[in-house]
């Protein structure tokens, strides 16, 4: 046994030495790489700028002023797409520090092709990019991480194409340097349109995946789980507890599960640098799903139409609201999507006997149509013997107040409804000249111009 320990120690020592050697080597590699890129950028600048011939021996000690472009050989195009799109993992050092770096790198390649006035190269590149992103999204169509990553980067690329298009409407917030960097020879607005459609596609795929994960938790969490024991209500067990169990006491979903899952989605989206406006739209869509699914259950199940359930629902809605506040998402319109549900819950709790009650109901339930109101009233189940059922005369009374209603008369809400997604223009303050290509992306064949 001692022999073994000695051997292990010996191997560990060797290992340590190897690590040191390796580190030295990568340092040397990095230095060489920097030299190469510096020299090649010098070369390309020399080509363009005739004035430099006056100072042949002077190589500036400071880094060359870069133009913010990336050059690649035509035959490396496939490799470029492979390494920056197809094989790129959403989790890695470079993309964790700068999530939208791939988009910028791609744009800098586009800029160079435009700069060279090379029609074929540019077209080929744009098409390859679009195809590449389509493929990678298809390959990972169930993975929230990959989908958010590529949605974020596609959106960023779209923004870059707009910001540097040279079009007046997009130049308002650009710095003078950025204005100089605009595309000079080609108009890529058609490609922008294709890219925009692709982004919409990815967005909807992302929403579908998130909804699929969320759906099983909605009805149990919002309706069935009873966190209110009598009067005292238990605050759900927080959102980011380390030892949190997904299931509360009886191994079923609770409101905490829903909140937890929302947090997971939200953090995935923000980790990948998704623009806030897009994240907000996604959250709003998810909240709509929660509201509509829960509401439909109330329409269908008599056992859910009780005063206690009404209270439970309102409690859960307040937790959802709190979650929005904690994540600074109050302005996304998510809470509005819950209004039909909130009003239904209120209706369950409120007194339903006098004429004034009837009037109040008719006035307050703005988000509910008469069919839905009547259904709730008729399904209302008293929790004990003291409570009376809702009388049919009361129902008729309410209906009389709603005679002038002219709107949809569907009982159920459409849970598949999707709000239209928009991609507002967001200029970035990033200076393209200052961007470098980290070595872990395996793009050594790109030359920084």
């Amino acid at each position: 046994m001692e022999g073994l320990t000695l051997r292990v120690e010996h191997l560990q020592n060797e290992n340590g030495k190897l690590q040191n050697l390796f580190q030295e080597k990568s340092n040397i590699n990095e230095d060489i790489r920097q030299e190469v890129s510096r020299l090649s950028s010098e070369n390309s600048v020399c080509r363009c700028d005739l004035h430099l011939r006056v100072h042949p021996k002077q190589t500036p000690a400071l880094p060359k002023e870069y133009l913010g472009m990336l050059e690649y050989k035509r035959e490396d195009e496939a490799r470029l797409i492979q390494n920056i799109i197809t094989d790129l993992k959403p989790k890695g050092v470079a993309v964790n520090v700068i999530p939208t770096l791939p988009a910028f790198i791609l744009f800098m390649c586009v800029r160079h092709a435009d700069y060279l006035n090379d029609d074929n190269k540019l077209k080929s590149l744009m098409n390859r990019i679009i195809q590449g992103v389509k493929k990678v999204v298809l390959a990972h169509q169930k993975d929230v991480e990959s989908l958010s990553f590529w949605l974020s980067n596609t959106y960023q690329l779209l923004n870059c194409l707009k910001q540097y298009s040279g079009e007046e409407q997009f130049l308002k917030q650009s710095t003078p340097r950025q204005k100089k960097n605009c595309l000079q020879n080609f108009d890529l607005s058609e490609h922008r349109q294709i890219l925009s459609d692709l982004a919409i596609q990815i967005y909807h795929q992302l929403i579908s995946v998130m909804q699929k994960t969320l759906t099983p938790a909605i009805v149990p969490g919002m309706l069935e789980h009873e966190s209110l024991q009598g009067i005292s209500s238990m605050k759900p067990t927080g959102f980011r507890k380390r030892s949190s169990s997904l299931y509360n006491d009886s191994e079923t979903y609770s409101i905490s599960s829903i909140l937890q899952e929302l947090s997971v989605f939200y953090s995935a989206m923000s980790h990948h640098g998704m623009e806030q406006s897009l994240t907000k739209q996604a959250v709003k869509q998810l909240f709509f799903l929660i509201g509509a699914t829960t509401f439909n259950q109330i329409m269908l199940r008599k056992d859910m139409c009780s005063c206690r359930k009404g209270m439970q629902i309102r409690c859960n809605i307040s937790y959802l609201e709190e979650w929005l506040k904690e994540n600074e998402l109050q302005s996304c319109g998510a809470i509005d999507t819950l209004r039909p549900l909130a009003q239904a819950a209120w209706l369950l709790q409120v007194n339903k006997s006098t004429d004034e009650d009837a009037k109040e109901i008719a006035e307050k339930c703005t988000e509910l149509n008469p069919v839905q109101i009547v259904k709730i009233l008729n399904s209302y189940t008293p929790i004990d013997d003291f409570e009376k059922r809702v009388t049919s005369s009361f129902v008729r009374q309410v209906q009389s107040f709603l005679q002038e209603y002219e709107g949809a008369t569907q009982l159920m809400l459409d849970t598949d409804y999707r709000f239209q997604v928009t991609f507002p223009f967001y200029p970035s303050s990033t200076a393209l000249e200052s961007l470098q290509v980290p070595s872990s992306l395996n793009l050594e064949f790109l030359t920084r111009i």
Partner: protein, 195 residues
């Protein structure tokens, strides 16, 4: 992502260096990235710093990966060697179980007592047997010569007693009194064998 999985990226900063995983390095990268975003205003000044940090983190990722792999490999090797050692010890103890503890040293031989071809005789015994055989062979030659002479009538003596000495077959078949009385080494040895 599984339902309800959470991660607190900042936790990675509190871990022991030797317990870091590559995932932790990614979490660290993310947190640092966010912090950098907070301080960057024009996008130029922070950029160099940003990419240097990326470079360092890349090296860090490589080292953490290598380290964890090496640890795994060393562990596996250690386990293999341990298993082999156990096996050898077990085998060693099972085969020497009949004669008790027997450590085989250098220049020693372990003999299976049930092997019919096992070595049984000492050098001395072998020497004596061979000497006797040579002697008897010589005597046989002389006796045969004598016989020839008698047969051809040269030596007119009465017939000598025939002595069958067949050294190739065991003396168990012989009933001549001469060999029974002879206490030769051969007889002794071979009489043991009959038992």
């Amino acid at each position: 992502m599984e339902f309800g999985e959470e991660s607190s990226p900042a936790l990675a900063f509190e871990k022991n260096a030797f317990e870091l995983t590559v995932e932790d390095v990614y979490d660290i990268s993310y947190v640092i990235g966010r912090d950098l975003l907070k301080i960057s205003s024009t996008g130029e000044e922070v950029s160099d710093l940003q990419f240097r940090i990326v470079r360092v983190l890349e090296m860090f990722e490589t080292l953490v990966n290598k380290y964890n792999l090496s640890v795994e490999e060393l562990k596996m090797e250690r386990d293999n060697l341990k298993a082999e050692l156990d096996r050898i010890i077990r085998e060693g103890s099972s085969s020497s179980g009949q004669t008790g503890q027997q450590t085989v040293g250098a220049n020693q031989l372990v003999v299976d007592l049930n092997d019919p071809n096992r070595p049984r005789f000492t050098m001395q015994e072998l020497k004596e047997v061979l000497q006797e055989r040579n002697q008897l062979k010589a005597q046989l030659m002389v006796a045969q010569e004598e016989l020839q002479l008698y047969k051809s009538g040269i030596l007119p003596q009465s017939e000598p007693t025939m002595v069958d000495v067949d050294l190739s077959t065991p003396p168990a078949t012989e009933d001549s009194s001469s060999t029974v009385n002879e206490k030769t080494t051969i007889g002794k040895l071979f009489s043991f064998r009959r038992k």
